[in-house]
Amino acid sequence: MTDGLDILTRLVDYHDHIAPPTVPVADDVRRGRRRVRRNRGIVTGGVALGVAGVVLTASLITGGDRDTHPEPAIPSPTATATDTATVSTPPIPPAPGWAGALRTDQASLPVLSERTGRVDGADAAVGWIDIRRVYAYARPEYRLVLQDPPPLASSLDPTRRVMEHGVVVDSDGDRVADCRIGISTDAPTPGDFRVWVTDLRAGTTVEQIGPPYGIPIDFFHPAEREDPTVESMSRTISLFFLGATPGARCELGTGASFYAYAVVMDRGRDPEWDFAPDAAWLRIS
């Protein structure tokens, strides 16, 4: 046996002894379905925008009945986005011990470029709310990489402990938060999630508690696994938002800025927080 082969033998032996996590196939199927559904939503949204553009152009050219009122940009607070997603006020239905405003000094926060600001230090005592990296994609998708994999949502009793992750967006560049997108385990049934979009300007929230998810946001969350015997190894939370949810405006275009946050609350008190970046906005470019 040559030494080259000996090296390769050891390498293959090491490879063969790596113990893969036991991940239910159903998890991969569910993630795949989500992605397909989201992609269809993007296509449908694009077509709808195109049609709306054509209709708008036609109406401008042909004129219109002055007495016909356009649809409001923000539906009334009683509007319903879907059968199960609801618009409500006040803007943030409180999680246990919710601490109110995330940051009080938003106006003074500088804006960082994405490249310098994406990495956040290890600065939270609880690893699964310690955000280490954040990404924003034009799709639009936000991705939060945590220090440690979060516990299964089904293992958390929402009356005792709630974890929450999200992003706060400044749509118009004035360094004041305009909307918030979040996901938490603050749902009546352990294992379910509450997802929501809050329009901080209008004071409206569109939320979904428990499945079916997809509106107002879709997500991949490593705490979602169904099998309690399986330990998740993933540390990445992905939030997908099409930006067209009736009742909660949230523009995410170029020029917008955002920061990510995470919080864990025990019995509604003593929340442990993390912000990424710690004191700045990240510009979406």
């Binding site: 002894h17 992609n39 990296r133």
Partner: protein, 169 residues
């Protein structure tokens, strides 16, 4: 068999291997799991198309390799925010040996690591490896040789002097 059933069967059969490969490429089990999840999500979306071709493995393998590759190309991801975690191992495999091999792999440039994984773990030919990575066969050979030389140098102190000789190319 329905499309979803076929996808499930494929995932059940291939996921462990994909994870192991991703571990070798990334050196971190958490990132490896992310890469595999991402690859399988993409595979699900393309299953109708991919299931009609013979080489599903090749398609997925390319996604995994590219996911790791594109991760590294993005400037902000070159920063290492956390220390890589220990790769989980079957009982009985010496932890010290695993640490040594993992460190040696991490010391390889990403291109050489990809060549080693494709050539010697997935057992692709030189031509297949070159086609997969979009490089010439000569580059595959030279990167393979350089990688083996580096591995030999890194592993020799732990695994004995026999590895110190020049050899296989």
């Amino acid at each position: 068999m329905t499309d979803e059933a076929a996808f499930s069967a494929y995932v059940a059969a291939r996921r462990p291997q994909l994870f192991r490969t991703a571990c070798l490429l990334c050196g971190d089990p958490h990132r490896a799991e992310d890469v595999v999840q991402d690859a399988l999500v993409r595979l699900y979306g393309a299953w109708d198309r991919v299931a009609k071709i013979d080489n599903i493995d090749g398609y997925v393998r390319r996604i995994v390799v590219n996911a790791d590759y594109s991760d590294r190309r993005r400037p902000w991801r070159r920063e290492s925010a956390t220390e890589p975690r220990d790769v989980p191992l079957d009982p009985g495999f010496p932890v010290e040996d695993a640490d040594t091999i993992r460190a040696a792999l991490r010391a390889l440039p990403p291109g050489q690591r990809r060549v080693i994984v494709l050539r010697h773990i997935w057992n692709l030919t030189i031509e297949e490896t070159a086609a997969e990575l979009g490089i010439s066969t000569g580059t595959v050979k030279s990167q393979s040789a350089d990688a083996l030389a580096t591995l030999r140098k890194s592993l020799a102190p732990a695994f004995g002097t026999a590895l110190g000789k020049e050899g296989d190319r």
